[in-house]
């Protein structure tokens, strides 16, 4: 690919970046995350420390589950602890939040 084409694509990339930033800025109001356990509001202003950890970590890679069977919650969080690199304390607070 010649330099001109490369430049054109980079320009397109910068332009789409600007569009996305504008979109983000335009949606001025805080929006709760789309998903989370049915009984929770996953905003950053969450009062429960476990809810806060859930909101900050569980939508980083994928849509977080709306509900989890308490029977499997411990197992799933062990699995996600290695992925999300959560501390033991975070895991404990999340367990209390997801399976009180």
């Amino acid at each position: 690919m010649n330099d001109q084409v490369r430049k054109r694509w980079l320009l397109a990339l910068v332009a789409s970046g600007v569009c996305i930033a504008t979109l983000v800025a335009a949606t001025g109001q805080a929006v709760p995350a789309a998903t989370g356990p049915a009984h929770a509001q996953t905003t950053a202003m969450a009062a429960d420390p476990g809810e806060k950890i859930f909101a900050a970590n569980c939508a980083r890679c994928h849509t977080p589950p709306m509900t989890l069977n308490p029977r499997v919650t411990g197992t799933i969080l062990m699995h996600m602890r290695t992925r999300a690199r959560l501390s033991r304390k975070d895991e404990k607070l999340l367990l209390q939040y997801l399976a009180p």
Partner: protein, 378 residues
């Protein structure tokens, strides 16, 4: 022997020596902290997590079913997939996890009169993605042994599962850092290197041995990954490095960024990858129009995706990468029917020195989580 070939021999020996040194150092790096951690955790009373929660630890089969119909350059492929994940905890600190992928790949057969116009034919491929034992020793370290996905960049370890990826086409640079088998057979140490209330620094370091065992093939390699994460801003930026130590000994590098701004339901992810054979990037934005003025309950389930990617050949390319420069803008429209079911559709336009073409994908994914036995009721 000519001076040139003598020099080459000397260099080869030096390189072999460096590799052995690197390997020894890496083993040292992994074994030393492991021993310290083993010492510090053995005998320490385990947190009684169950005292405060009803959470159970029964073995689980999770994973996904998917069916994707792909049309690239006018050629149709049917790709059904079943990907079970086994999770078997042993106490609260040991987890056995394994994922096997069964992927069917069916295309129309070539007829003498016209290519790709016969009946559908193909086969099912089986891959052991990982089969590993995790010892969740401490907040700062999880020790992993067995076969694990190479911790390289954002895509392979986190976004590749069929129910997670927003667009079904894998990025052009996917093979950088994962070629040829995508997984390592060896040891990995990962965890949080430093944790402040406002940010944390995460790391992983691994070494892989050569294996030619069927389904468990791997090459000798060392590498690592580090990233910092700011939870309040939901921003993560990281770097990955990997050196393959057999065949063509090359470096693979990646830099990545991820951001989920709280002010809008947008998920931004980007990755730049580079090795001897090429370099390239992808940048992806996904948006859920939660506050759509009309029918917000419907639009809450809709996901709009856009991705741009470019690949630039170096030294002839190949080795899992294209041999010509390529770029592809791609858009997707997904519909999350329920937490576990998702309808997928996407369109991409490939611009390549070998010719331009369209790529279409339609299909669905289903994610499941099944406890293997009843366990304790809440």
């Amino acid at each position: 022997m000519t001076t040139q070939s003598a020099n080459r021999q000397i260099w080869k020996r030096k390189l072999r020596l460096i590799d052995r040194c690197t390997l020894r150092k890496t083993i040292g790096l992994l074994v030393l902290p492991s021993c310290i951690l083993l010492g510090s955790t053995v005998g320490r009373a385990q947190d009684d997590l169950r005292a405060h929660t009803t959470a159970g630890y029964v073995p689980v089969i999770s994973g996904a079913f998917a069916y994707i119909q792909n049309t690239s350059g006018g050629v149709q492929s049917l790709v059904p997939q079943i990907v079970p994940v086994l999770l078997a905890p042993m106490g609260h600190s040991l987890l056995l996890e394994s994922r096997v992928e069964f992927t069917g790949f069916f295309q129309r057969e070539n007829l003498p009169s016209e290519p790709f116009s016969g009946r559908f034919a193909g086969k099912v491929y089986k891959t052991v993605d990982y089969a590993q034992l995790d010892w969740l020793a401490d907040s700062h370290a999880t020790i992993v042994a067995g076969r694990f996905i190479l911790p390289f960049g954002l895509y392979s370890e986190r976004l590749a599962p069929v129910w997670i990826r927003n667009l079904q086409d894998t990025p052009f640079t996917y093979s950088i850092g994962t070629n040829p088998y995508g997984a390592a057979d060896g040891f990995m140490l990962r965890g949080i290197a430093a944790s402040l209330p406002s940010a944390s620094i995460q790391y992983s370091a691994f070494m892989s041995a050569h294996s030619s065992t069927n389904e468990l093939q791997a090459i000798r390699a060392v590498g690592g990954d580090t990233s910092f994460y700011v939870p309040s801003k939901r921003v993560e930026a990281g770097l990955s490095y990997q050196r393959t130590l057999e065949g063509y000994q090359i470096n693979n590098e990646a830099a990545y960024f991820s951001w989920q701004p709280q002010r809008a339901s947008v998920d931004l992810k980007a990755e730049y990858d580079r090795n001897h054979y090429g370099d390239g990037y992808w940048i992806e934005a996904a948006h859920i129009p939660q506050q759509f003025p009309v029918a917000p309950d419907f639009f809450r389930h809709v996901q709009l995706v856009g991705r741009m990617e470019q690949f630039f050949v170096r030294n002839g390319g190949g080795n899992g990468l294209a041999r010509v420069n390529e770029q592809r803008p791609e858009v997707g429209l997904n519909f999350q029917i329920r937490d576990d079911w998702r309808l997928e559709s996407s369109y991409g336009r490939l611009f390549s020195h070998n010719g331009n073409s369209n790529t279409w994908n339609f299909g669905f994914t289903y994610r499941f989580i099944w406890p293997l036995w009843p366990g304790r009721k809440s």
